[in-house]
C-alpha cells in the first residue's frame, strides 16, 4: 500500500509519539503536537497507538497508488481506490492527522520515526514524496466505535485551558498571572512545533536576572517583551526566559488544537497531592 503526495502546504511531517529519554542530551521529546489526535487516527485503522502517521498543520493532498485504507482524527476510516485523491486540511483546527492502515513506513532513528526538525531528523513533506505502509499488525479490532480524542476527564471541550502557577514567580510583577488568566490571547501565525506564540496583554517582568534553566512542554515562557510563548514538542530543553505558568498536561492537546488566529483563555488550577 503506498501513496504519493500531490500537494503539501504548511508544516506537514511524519510523527509518532516522540523520543522520550534523551532530554539530558538536549534532545526534546518531539512527537505529535496533539498526541490524542494521532492516537485517534491510528485506532480508526486498527494501528498501534504509536504508529507513525502524517501530521498536517496546513493541508495535504495525496493520491493512492494502490488501494489504501486511511483515516483522520476526525473522519471515519475509508478505502481509497488506486488513483483516488484525498485532501486533508487542518481547518477548523490547527492540526489534523492522516493514518494509513499498517502505519507509515519510516526509519527508526534515535528511538523514534517522526520528524524532529530541530535535530535535522526527517523533514517537511513535499509534493512528489511517496509513502508506503509499514504493514504493522492490526490491533484494537474493536476500536471502530466512537473514536473521540480525549482531552482529559476534567476538561470541558470549550473551557479555559488550565494552568499551574510558577515556577519563577520572582521574575514577574505581582498581578502578572492574574492578567494572564483574565485576558484573551490570540494564537499567532508564527507559531510552530517549537512554540505557540500568543498575542495579548504583555506580562510585566521584574528585573531578576535570567538564567538558563530546564524547560518542559507546556511551559509558558515570557521574553522581555512580555508576550507569552507556550513551549511545544520541539522546545529547547533549557532556556533563559522565566516561566510564569505551565499548561496542565491533560489540556495541552486542546490548546495545541486551536487554529492559528484563534483565541484562548486560561484559568489557574491547583496541583492536588501537595
Amino acid at each position: 500500500m503506498s501513496f504519493i503526495v500531490v500537494r503539501a502546504a504548511g508544516l506537514v511531517t511524519v510523527q509518532d509519539l516522540g523520543r522520550p529519554g534523551r532530554m539530558h542530551e538536549a534532545i526534546p521529546p518531539g512527537g505529535a503536537l496533539v498526541r490524542d489526535r494521532l492516537i485517534a487516527a491510528n485506532r480508526a485503522v486498527h494501528n498501534p497507538d504509536d504508529a507513525p502517521a502524517i501530521e498536517v498543520l496546513g493541508s495535504l493532498v495525496i493520491r493512492a497508488e494502490q488501494p489504501l485504507r486511511v483515516a483522520t482524527d476526525t473522519t471515519a476510516p475509508r478505502d481509497l481506490a488506486a488513483g483516488a485523491e484525498l485532501t486533508v486540511g487542518s481547518e477548523p483546527r490547527r492540526v489534523a492527522y492522516l493514518a494509513l492502515r499498517g502505519g507509515i513506513a519510516a526509519p527508526l532513528v534515535l528511538g523514534g520515526r517522526g520528524a524532529l526538525l530541530c535535530a535535522g531528523l526527517g523533514g517537511l513533506i513535499r509534493a512528489g514524496q511517496r509513502f508506503a505502509s509499514a504493514e504493522l499488525a492490526a490491533i484494537n479490532p474493536a476500536a471502530d466505535a466512537a473514536i473521540v480524542p480525549t482531552v482529559g476527564p476534567a476538561a470541558r471541550a470549550d473551557g479555559p485551558i488550565r494552568l499551574l502557577e510558577g515556577p519563577d514567580p520572582e521574575h514577574f510583577v505581582p498581578g502578572a498571572l492574574e492578567l494572564l488568566v483574565s485576558s484573551e490571547y490570540r494564537i499567532l501565525p508564527s507559531s510552530d512545533r517549537v512554540g505557540t506564540r500568543l498575542d495579548g496583554p504583555a506580562l510585566p517582568r521584574t528585573a531578576a536576572p535570567e538564567a538558563s534553566r530546564p524547560m518542559v512542554i507546556g511551559a509558558i515562557e515570557v521574553p522581555r517583551d512580555g508576550k507569552p510563548i507556550v513551549l511545544g514538542p520541539e522546545h529547547p530543553t533549557t532556556g533563559g526566559y522565566p516561566i510564569i505558568a505551565v499548561v496542565a498536561h491533560d489540556d495541552l492537546g486542546r490548546l495545541f488544537s486551536i487554529r492559528l488566529g484563534g483565541t484562548v483563555r486560561f484559568t489557574a488550577a491547583r496541583l492536588r497531592d501537595r
Binding site: 522520550p20 529519554g21 534523551r22 532530554m23 539530558h24 542530551e25 538536549a26 534532545i27 526534546p28 521529546p29 532513528v109 534515535l110 524532529l116 530541530c118 535535530a119 535535522g120 499551574l164 510558577g166 515556577p167 538564567a211 538558563s212 534553566r213 530546564p214 524547560m215 518542559v216 507546556g218 511551559a219 529547547p236 530543553t237 533549557t238 532556556g239 516561566i243 505551565v246 499548561v247 496542565a248 498536561h249 496541583l271 497531592d273 501537595r274
Partner: protein
Amino acid sequence: MADWTPLGDRAIRFARPDRSARAIVRAVRAWPGVIDVVVARQEVAAYFDGRPRGASDWAAWATWIDALATAPDDPEPVRDIALGAIYNGPDLDHVAQATGRHADEVRALHAAAIYTVETMGFSPGFAYLSGLPAALELPRRTTPRTRVPAGSIAIAGAHTAVYPFDSPGGWHLIGSVVGVRMFGPDGPLLRLGDRVRFVP
C-alpha cells in the same frame, strides 16, 4: 530537606546537587516513574511518565533529592574526545582585542585547555564545556546572530561550545571544527562528562 518546585504537573525542578552531571542523570533516572532528566548549570528537572501518584510520592521527592548528594559516580569511564579545530572565526580579532591579547595567544589558550561537558541544552547535542581559561571569559555579544553555522567553535562567559546545527546564537565565534559532525544518526558526538580537547 531539599526544596523543589513543580514544573507543571509532570515534572519537578530543584537545585543542582554538587555532583557530576552523569551521576545526577543516572540516579534520577532510577527514580520511580522518571522518563527524562535535564541537568542545567544550577538546576535539575525530573520528568515523569504520568502525574506523580498520591501525596506520599510528592513528599518523597525531597528525600530522593537529598540522597543525590551521595549518588555514586557513573561506573563507565570518562571518554576523551579530540576535536580538530581551525581558529579562523569572525569574532577572533574582537576576542583578542577585548581580552587584551594577540589572536595567536587566544588560539593557544583555547587549544591548551582540557574541557568537560558540564551540561547540555539550548539545541540538540549542544554541550556547555567548562574549563575555559579565565583570560578568555567575555560576556555574550550584545546582539545575537540570527544564524551561526553548524560546527562553529564559540565562547561566552565561562564556557566554550561547538554549535551542532545552524541556529541563532549570541556567543563569540573563534573557529570551527574540522572533519566531524557534532550530531549524527547515533545522536550527539559529545555527551555529559566527556573530556574534550581542541586540536589545531
